[in-house]
Symmetry: C2
């Protein structure tokens, strides 16, 4: 469902292909919403059936043919409706790390500590990514594209969320590591 609105969201900027949409997602929304190439193609097809978008086949001689999708009036109305609608319930979480920890009372102290330290390394790496790559990607794209100042602020807010999330995760891991050292 949400993937449809994500694709519509990008198509409000300009018409494009399923292949390009995947690439755009990978360098922008992938930290908070991702999809496989195959799912994107299937979803675009469904959206065209619903009349939210239309496609035309562009024949290329040196490269494979491209199917270019454009948003329709109905499509524009649908994104607008979606954006104006407030979120009234929190999304339920699924956290594999918490699930495992919950059942780990009989595990070896050292095994558990090693696992948590590994988790911390992963979150540290991700934090650095938000602070470097993600930050410059947003800045460069905004600088190269006219009339994107407002967009850039919102894009950076989503990046900032990632930064805070990874810091929080690391803090929790630190606390949990200390707790296990003392109590297991």
């Amino acid at each position: 469902m949400s993937l449809q609105f994500l694709l519509l969201g990008f198509l409000t900027y300009r018409p494009t292909t399923g292949y390009e949409l995947k690439q755009t997602m990978d360098v922008s929304t992938s930290n908070f919403w991702h999809a496989k190439q195959s799912q994107i193609y299937v979803t675009l097809k469904k959206m065209e059936e619903k009349g939210l978008i239309v496609s035309e086949l562009e024949e290329q001689d040196t490269r494979p043919n491209r199917r270019i999708y454009s948003i329709t009036e109905n499509g524009v109305a649908a994104v607008q409706q979606w954006l104006s609608q407030p979120i009234t319930v929190l999304q339920p979480k699924k956290e594999l790390t918490l699930l495992k920890l919950f059942f780990s009372a009989k595990q070896e102290k050292q095994t558990l500590l090693t696992q948590l330290h590994l988790q911390k390394d992963l979150h540290k790496q991700k934090l650095v990514q938000y602070q470097t790559i993600t930050k410059t990607v947003i800045q460069r794209y905004a600088a190269a594209t006219p009339n994107t100042e407002t967009d850039a602020h919102l894009w950076d807010a989503t990046r900032r969320y990632g930064e805070l999330f990874e810091q929080m995760s690391m803090q929790w891991l630190d606390e949990t590591i200390v707790m296990i050292e003392e109590n297991l």
Copy 2:
């Protein structure tokens, strides 16, 4: 996949029914892993086919019959193997709030602010829940059940994660609200 291990995890404590497993989940893991009753029944059936658990039907006259599941040796080995296996990649996130915000550059400033304030209220409520209900549920259960001191520490660590997560969310919303007031 993970639901199977969650159910196995609970079945290591004692044999029980699909109905009870749902209730147990609702008061314990539901903040970081949830499932519908119908999915639990289907999953238990598959697990029995795989030989991870076995069931027997208990006939009751005043109440509907119950199907009681017990974990097998294979089941015990499977949870142990799952728990000892470290998580080596971060779980990709899906955050609806970020997705909407990413595409909200053309929205009315006031609409956006109202939505973010609503989000903050929801996170505030959830934070209080972690600090009150969840906290006392863990304490009471641990006090009433022998040999659960170690478990209780781990259960509280998962609760603490929720607390930190909601605080972080609120901080991010505060920052984002200020940013929008200044830049939109």
